[in-house]
Symmetry: none
Subunit: 207 residues, 4 copies
Amino acid sequence: MNMSLEGKTRRQALTEFREAEILAAARKVFGEHGFAASTIEMIAAAAGVAKGTLYLYYSSKDEIFWNALSSRFREMIACGKQEVDRAEGTEAKIRASLRVRFEFFRSDEAFMRMYLTEFGQFCGPGGLHRLPVRELYTESAAYLAQVLAEGMQKGELRPGDPLETAMALMELTKAVFAMRFSGLAGQNPEFDGERFVFNLFWNGVKA
Amino acid sequence: MNMSLEGKTRRQALTEFREAEILAAARKVFGEHGFAASTIEMIAAAAGVAKGTLYLYYSSKDEIFWNALSSRFREMIACGKQEVDRAEGTEAKIRASLRVRFEFFRSDEAFMRMYLTEFGQFCGPGGLHRLPVRELYTESAAYLAQVLAEGMQKGELRPGDPLETAMALMELTKAVFAMRFSGLAGQNPEFDGERFVFNLFWNGVKA
Amino acid sequence: MNMSLEGKTRRQALTEFREAEILAAARKVFGEHGFAASTIEMIAAAAGVAKGTLYLYYSSKDEIFWNALSSRFREMIACGKQEVDRAEGTEAKIRASLRVRFEFFRSDEAFMRMYLTEFGQFCGPGGLHRLPVRELYTESAAYLAQVLAEGMQKGELRPGDPLETAMALMELTKAVFAMRFSGLAGQNPEFDGERFVFNLFWNGVKA
Amino acid sequence: MNMSLEGKTRRQALTEFREAEILAAARKVFGEHGFAASTIEMIAAAAGVAKGTLYLYYSSKDEIFWNALSSRFREMIACGKQEVDRAEGTEAKIRASLRVRFEFFRSDEAFMRMYLTEFGQFCGPGGLHRLPVRELYTESAAYLAQVLAEGMQKGELRPGDPLETAMALMELTKAVFAMRFSGLAGQNPEFDGERFVFNLFWNGVKA
DNA sequence: CATGAATGAGATTTCATTCAT
DNA sequence: AATGAATGAAATCTCATTCAT
């Protein structure tokens, strides 16, 4: 009985490992080439498996794409929530939120590239698969919006539209990475993106 | 000689008209479906010409795409420059810059959709065709950066990184439209995106 | 105006010619290899066009298949009706019906092979595309059944189930060709399939 | 020694049981979906074993298909022979032959569906695997042909081509089931297919 | 200049078959 | 003997691009 349980666990572990492997490979490829220019073959090669194997785990290129994006996104948001919860005070919470995002983007370049390159796809057109990602984005923004709303109530922040403000913060973060990634700005090694965003935003919203 | 000149002019005018027609159609289609899901046939149909005709004016789908984006982008930037030049004082110049962008996005939804949806493509990967758009973006940011740098020098703005700050402003504008377009926020009819962006930014940067 | 009309006609003619060409090629290939073992490429090659061209005329392999079958089938049935109408008396009508089927099968081996090989598909499972063929079959059987019903009323034929009897006749015809085609029987050059079927059937049903 | 024999026998019994199970499952699946649309996985699932297990007993999908068909076919023919042998007189022998076929088809719908749907495949193209089925068919027809030949010699039947006539009888039987299965005719509960075929055929051939 | 039929490279996806466990 | 994850050949279908009319 123990054996069978172990067997099950082992198999599950293997499956999860494979899934993670595939999604990481997918982020790499999608981040490098964009959705359209990436092929299933490239992802399979990057994951070190055969084309057909991908279809044992995901049922289409689309599904691979959105899972690759959302799985990491979900982690980032969960981590962000935790850190924001732990922090005390509006300013600290905002700093925590920023810190998590910067850390995630810095530590997983593939994810960042993918997020930047294909972000337009989830405000733009698209099928059903993107819905989960939209929900994550919405959820993440709503959470931050609550922090801002509380700050406004306490009089720490100027009154305003919390949700829109929260999204603005998220987009500012994205913008800094986009600059760097595209090579258009922010290349100076002394440029501290995190501080830059915080200062601009905090001065922009504080009472 | 006059005749030939006139003929040439007429032909040129016709050509330009056709080109503009095609690019407008392309913006409509690309904005609605995104690059990958848009086909040459759809664009041809929207432009009211045959598929082959497109290739008399542009040599590839890519070229159509980037021209559709950059031609309007160029107009927007030229107009922005003019208005910024005309305005006096840092604050007024920033307001002018914002006003132009909002007007362009509001008045040409197809362009806005296209810009939002495929923006990732020009910080991300891509061929040679996107270079002109990048240059426009850079140029536009540089111009605004100069305004900001002057404001900093005059002590009206807190000292900082002018180029990055300029890009942050541009991205904030984009963010507001992205919110609306995606239906994730900013739907409240009382929400004034232009004022929102200005307030956040101006408070964020002013001395 | 004449020109445009001519142009239209010419184009239409060309299109029809192409369609006929494709369907003939399809019958050849499907008849030779069966549906599953036939590939789009084989059909394209047999038709002397490129793969993609097939999709300008038909939207799927399935559609090609059923059109290839039904277009010729329709001709056969229309021709059969005509001949049956022209004939006088039950016996003559039955003979006419048989004659037409034998002629069609003899003159277009590809069609016959396809009909024989894949007949099971339209009594068995299958998608929407086979419906038209079923209808043709039904229609054809119903027409013949009427002839038989009249014969029964006149007392020329033993009373019975006209529709089932009609189908039995059609299947007998098919059976003779199946024998020959498969090489299992009917190879003797003196064997006259048409007469064989008529005699068996006529004796089987006559009063 | 006894033990080893018994062991062997037991193993053989198990193997045969497994084989029969697989073939029954295969008939079910092939009959329901046709050859092409049936997958090894579906058959394995229907048989309650894993995909790989099928390959321990049969070396390919094709082999499974033809074995599924021929094993039952063989039983039907063997049974038919027995009954025909037992019957006395041409008419009784024909009746016996018909009765067996109707019983087999009625009692094993999966077999019937498979036989009907894919019959075309064994008069049409196909690999080596279908040969045994062809032989069975041939054998079965030859046996019946002998009965008919004897009937002709005795003057009970009109002289004719015994083999072709035998096949015609077999095809008439098939036709009745095809009608019903396809829903095109023979649905009336009072319609007695066996009697219908016998009457048509007997009147058709008797002297 | 304009057309749109034709092309064929290339993408996604399926599934019979293998083989390490 | 049994399994089912992995494979990769092969099939269908799309669509940017060309070119004869």
